[in-house]
């Protein structure tokens, strides 16, 4: 007779909400959003529109009384919605290749 107290367990596919469940979607990006902190008013509209959502306000940052907008580049797909919606037009979409060259030089 099969015992019920051995190691066997019924398995199903269950996934729980977790950060980056779809993998490092930052790899999809060809343009990187860069926020101009001097112009940014920290209105958080970019964070509201980000479909991922990977823009958050870090309230502890000393650069501004409200803190600072932070983009999580590991997951940002570079869709550009934030740049499009920013009322101050202070988010620039910069080609990823430009950073590649920089990072390569840093390596040396």
């Amino acid at each position: 007779m099969t015992k019920s107290n051995d190691d066997f367990k019924v398995e199903t596919w269950n996934s729980k909400p977790t950060k980056g469940a779809a993998g490092k979607t930052g790899l999809w990006r060809t343009f990187r959003p860069i926020i101009d902190d001097d112009v940014c008013t920290r209105c958080e509209i970019c964070a509201l529109y980000c479909p991922e959502p990977c823009i958050t306000l870090n309230p502890d940052d000393p650069s501004h009384e409200k803190g600072r907008m932070v983009i999580e580049y590991e997951y940002c797909k570079g869709c550009g919605i934030c740049a499009n919606e920013c009322p101050k037009h202070c988010i620039e979409m910069v080609k990823e290749t430009e950073f590649l060259v920089e990072e390569e030089e840093e390596d040396k």
């Binding site: 979607t25 790899l27 999809w28 990006r29 060809t30 797909k77 570079g78 080609k95 990823e96 290749t97 590649l100 060259v101 390569e104």
Partner: protein, 186 residues
């Protein structure tokens, strides 16, 4: 001859077409071919891999390519870790870069081509992104000598709509002529 070519691009950049064009070019030279991709949830912009196999006899293999003899990278912004896997010292690597990069950690036959600039010159563009697939097919023909340029040109005519022949034929020719081996050595 049993060559396994792996193409790296992003969803929507035409890496599947690259694989097919090279396959058809080899077919025109009497070789046996396969062109395929790994399919999942297709997403524009996500890194994709496609494959071409070229052999002297009917190809019985149906599994994926683990040790590519040739790797072609269509998009300069793809992380190196994606296209490094399975590369051996005998592999040929052709990367779309706007300048010579060293890749000191990669031991293989390295070539570079500024395919994005050629795409900008020729206005090869779909939905705001530059398409380098035909350029890279020309580049692979030059770097590996697997197929003749003429076969690539014929294959482009076979695979693409007549409306876009002219730019893509020019693209493949420039890809063929502007591919450089790395001077910094292996």
């Amino acid at each position: 001859m049993f060559e396994e070519i792996r193409w790296h691009g992003r969803g929507g950049q035409g890496a599947v077409t690259s694989a097919k064009i090279l396959a058809e070019a080899a077919h025109r030279e009497g070789k046996f071919v396969q062109a395929f991709a790994f399919y999942g949830a297709e997403r524009r912009g996500a890194p994709v891999e496609t494959y071409t196999r070229i052999a002297d006899s009917h190809i019985k293999r149906h599994s994926q390519i683990y040790k590519p003899t040739v790797v072609a990278v269509l998009d300069p912004a793809l992380p190196k870790i994606l296209y490094m896997k399975g590369i051996t010292e005998d592999s040929t690597l052709i990367v779309n870069f706007n300048k010579e990069k060293a890749f000191p950690d990669l031991k293989c036959k390295k070539h570079w081509i500024d395919a994005t600039q050629i795409a900008i010159d020729l206005e090869l563009k779909i939905a705001d992104s530059y398409i380098t697939n035909t350029i890279m097919t020309g580049a692979v023909a030059k770097a590996t000598g697997l197929v003749k340029l003429d076969s690539v040109l014929d294959a482009i005519k076979g695979q693409l709509n007549e409306r876009i022949w002219d730019t893509n034929l020019e693209a493949a020719k420039r890809g063929f002529n502007e591919t450089h081996p790395y001077s910094k050595g292996v």
